[in-house]
Symmetry: C2
Subunit: 336 residues, 2 copies
């Protein structure tokens, strides 16, 4: 370590199979390319949100092999070499390890991991909190995570106990209420630490991922063939499970900046205005005596008559009609 303040680099994790927002998203254009919120794609928003904290040259993206070209096109200001595709999906454990390897370098930079498909309503507040987390990561031998102040007892997120710093899995409804009462925070998948601290954590808790975390930097990037060979042997394991649930050197910085995961079409209910019957519409939708529907017309005009709580989406190739309460089960449409 030198006396100079180490750089802050950001890695945007941008995998995604395009299933949960199908047919708006597809395997070739997964969720992070969605333009429904505020005009810009979610991945552009993820980068723009770090404006002032991270220069484009210090931004990295870990995505899947088939999405590298689309990602480079979407983020032309990021150096091409900073956008790398995983040869296959191995969950966030491998993605974080690869990102640590890519973002490593002289001066042991602080590396922060962020998702490509999240919403932040208050980006200024977000930047403040990230700054705080980066400052802690600079000073201490710790992985700093940003814990989100829960807006409601969600069952679709993991939680973090701010006292014990324990990471806990997605709870059922009852446990979720208990967690919220006890002051637990949502695990938003944001991790910030010096590259060396991440490497140490992999060495200690997930040695099978250590090699990836040590690639890049001075060692230079792995050749595609080597990367493919390495990935084929890796376990599918999340970073939470591989490292965060075991590490003792965890710091939690609470954040409250209108964060959301944009996990499914149900999120449209939160971000779009409703008509007086609770319908959310985009494009030509003729809605008659219908309530609580999400109606997205990207090609043919949609007419709804007397239906309730549906998600109806049209694209030139596909029409989705799903019960709103079932959108978490979108995968079932692709299981044949």
């Amino acid at each position: 370590m030198k006396g100079k303040t180490p750089a802050f680099r950001a890695v945007i994790l941008a995998g995604g199979s395009g299933e949960r927002f199908w047919p708006l998203s597809t395997p070739e254009r997964p969720k992070q390319f969605l333009r429904v919120f505020g005009g810009e794609s979610l991945i552009r928003q993820a980068l723009a949100r770090l404006d002032g904290l991270v220069a484009p040259a210090d931004a990295f993206v870990v995505t899947t092999k088939n999405l590298v070209a689309a990602t480079r096109k979407e983020l032309p200001e990021v150096p091409k070499g900073n956008i790398v595709g995983e040869p296959m999906r191995r969950d966030t454990g491998a993605a974080v390890a690869l990102g640590v390897g890519m973002a490593s370098g002289a001066g042991d930079p602080v590396v922060g991991f962020f998702s490509s498909d999240q919403m932040v309503a208050k980006p200024k507040e977000f930047r403040k909190v990230v700054k705080r987390a980066v400052a802690i990561a600079r000073r201490r031998n710790a992985i700093v995570t940003i814990g989100i102040k829960p807006g409601y007892p969600a069952t679709c997120f993991g939680y973090i106990s701010p006292k014990t710093r324990a990471f806990v899995e997605k709870p059922d409804a009852e446990k979720a209420r208990k967690y919220v009462r006890a002051g637990y925070l949502w695990n938003a998948g944001m991790f910030i630490a010096r590259a060396s601290v991440f490497r140490g954590a992999f060495a200690a808790h997930a040695p099978e991922l250590e090699c990836l975390a040590k690639s890049g930097g001075d060692a230079g990037p792995l050749a595609p063939a080597a990367l493919a060979r390495l990935y084929a042997a890796l376990p599918k394991i999340s970073f939470d499970y591989a490292v965060m649930e075991k590490a003792k050197n965890v710091e939690v910085v609470p954040g409250d900046f209108g964060w959301d995961d944009v996990g499914s079409f149900a999120a449209f209910d939160k971000y779009f205005p409703h008509d007086r019957r609770g319908n959310v519409r985009e494009g030509p939708c003729n809605v008659v005596e219908a309530e609580g529907n999400i109606c997205v017309a990207r090609s043919a005009r949609i007419s709804l008559l007397g239906v309730k709580n549906l998600v109806v989406v049209t694209t030139p190739d596909s029409v989705l009609v799903a019960d709103k309460s079932r959108v978490a089960e979108m995968k079932k449409l692709f299981s044949r």
Copy 2:
């Protein structure tokens, strides 16, 4: 009246606004052009059903002005002059009167009225019953109607009392059950009588329509401008209400030949095979944990997830998603 057996001529009533099967049907291609049942359009089936009873030269069609060309194309064997378009919609009272005028001629033929958009499961039995009705109409100064043996206590059809020969309007559910128990028959809108008998009935009960019923035949058809002027002054009134509810010289011939009105998408449930969850499908439909839906994919592929009792129809221009119990209210989609 001469000693020679008078001819039998058939008039197919083919109006229709295309609303009830929208978007499969449209104002330019209303229900009678639908090809979903058995491959042929409903209007072709209506004509074919009379095969052996009516020569194409003795078949007539009353349709709306804008549908004349499409109808002539659909029924090329019918003489062009036998297919006439009403200048505006004036309900079945005017349509029957115009049909009587068109089909009148030497020898006072028997004229039968049939709808263009009905289903008959047993056409052979249908022809037998029509023959019986025609024979009665030849002999007697009566309007013969074919009353359908009810399959269930329908509330969407009018009924005929076989004893009093009284025509009664569409009943509520309770009355419908009473009618069925009492042996009432469905009013299928089939009327058969000598042209002179129809003319006499108009003269007696609906003199405002008499002029139309006397056009055609020896008098020659009305010029389009004269027809338009005449129609503009006509009341919108059904033939049932204008004539049948008042006439005393009514004969009822019961029929049981698998008749149905094909009134709405709900009819698909009767005529198409179901999958094991009660869904009816045409075209590429991916149906996951969905029940009782009618799914017609004419352009984009439809995916249903977890939805129940919907009608989902796609065409290149439009997507309809309606609750199955609401399809009778399709008009509401066009009321703006």
